[in-house]
Symmetry: C2
Subunit: 264 residues, 2 copies
């Protein structure tokens, strides 16, 4: 999604020569593909398929709608299995008509409904806490503490963990202590990076390259690695601006900003 | 600021007949006015002058810049005194180059520097926690808990409290308990309402009329009133859309949506 204008095949061709070793596949990019073939193509190119994005969106005003959401998540598990990725990222959902505490309970119920199927398929589920500016319509899980609480409430299942994106959680003063909590349960599954620009001109698609904003990315990365996390640093940038420029130039900017970040 | 296209004189003429009993004056609207004259004009029209907006913006990379901010806040106290309002709302500030914990300390230091002068002038200072989407450049105080903590750190001065705006804090699961904490110290000074639209198209100027969004305004108002708060409900809407329509029609929409909210 970071290089949204590119097809999966473009990514397979252009990521590895640029030094990018893995990819998270968004479900809309699987349309028209047999997941297993898409997975083979990416693997043959040398890419790790880190996760499928995204399941979730559980809360809804009616039980029928919530069942539709569960069915869609079961489909995502099938797709992930076909694609050959070990993980699905959950954007848990929120609905303007559902109070947030109720939405969080519906999220717990939804996850509980799909967990056994995911486990059988060997798929891990990663709850991604979303920035509070998405509490209205995208996720009622807006802090790492709330993600930890949902997993606790479900008795820490073996295949339920967290995808941590610095963009969503950097502002939170409890972040370090909540990251430390994930270590105790070995539940930190994914780590996403980008930067928060000032000013930010769009709620969705104005993320910055690492170094373009004010997020203390390396400090958060240090806390994450101290938990024992050995997964990749996934660059996830949604940007109308960067999607509008030559994607090869953009990919070069990404790898350069990552190198600058990690060698500072 | 809610009816931004109007001058203070327009507000003095049009608010009272619409049933609006008070006003918070933003400092830019005092430009070209002698504060005392502006205050007299508003009072003569029958309006309470609830507060002056805004002081704050304390954090900065250098001591010289921080002193400039303190000087500007001292000027705000003079203006508030002249205007004849008992309160200044503080948007505390944040700076992309200053880590958030450091910014919070600079905020505490800045407030401590101006508190005695405010006290002498009979002016209360109200810290307004801002939504985490403003943590990059507008405020490092992003939760009611952080506002309470800064006031605790300064040993709960008699003239330091909180301005609570539902727009900034509605998503926070600790909101109710933190509102209850303000009651113990009698430090809830102001209550602002509007609504959070889904989708929200702009980080600054896309607030909704009460009822246009997903904030449980009456629930929060109940918690606020349970603290013993007897101040006004202040409608604070920043909206490029509503600023572009006839302001009389807009004012009618505001009073209607407030009536619908409070008679539901």
């Amino acid at each position: 999604m970071t290089t949204k204008p590119w097809t999966l095949d473009d990514c397979a061709r252009h990521y590895p020569p640029a030094g990018v070793q893995g990819i998270t596949v968004w479900r809309q990019h699987l349309e028209g593909h047999i997941p297993q073939h898409a997975g083979d193509r990416l693997r043959d190119a040398g890419l790790d398929i880190i996760s499928l994005c995204r399941g979730g969106f559980f809360p809804a005003p009616t039980a029928a709608e919530r069942q539709l959401a569960i069915d869609d998540n079961l489909l995502a598990i099938e797709q992930a299995h076909g694609l050959g990725t070990p993980m699905i990222v959950l954007v848990c959902g929120a609905h303007p008509g559902v109070p947030l505490p109720e939405a969080r309970q519906q999220i717990a119920d939804g996850i509980a409904a799909i967990l056994p199927v995911a486990q059988q398929a060997g798929i891990k589920l990663a709850i991604e806490p979303l920035h509070p500016m998405y509490a209205g319509d995208r996720s009622a899980i807006n802090t790492l503490a709330q993600a930890n609480a949902v997993i606790d409430q479900l008795h820490s299942p073996k295949n339920l963990g967290i995808a941590l994106d610095v963009y969503h959680v950097w502002w939170d003063e409890t972040l370090q202590s909540q990251i430390e909590l994930t270590a105790k349960h070995d539940r930190l599954y994914a780590f996403h990076i980008c930067d928060w620009k000032t000013p930010t001109l769009d709620l969705l698609n104005d993320r910055g390259l690492m170094g373009e904003g004010c997020i203390p990315i390396m400090q958060i990365k240090t806390w994450v690695n101290q938990t024992g996390f050995t997964g990749p640093d996934e660059v996830e940038i949604f940007s109308t601006h960067y999607w509008s420029i030559d994607q090869h130039d953009y990919l070069k900017k990404i790898t350069q900003s990552y190198q600058q970040l990690t060698t500072m």
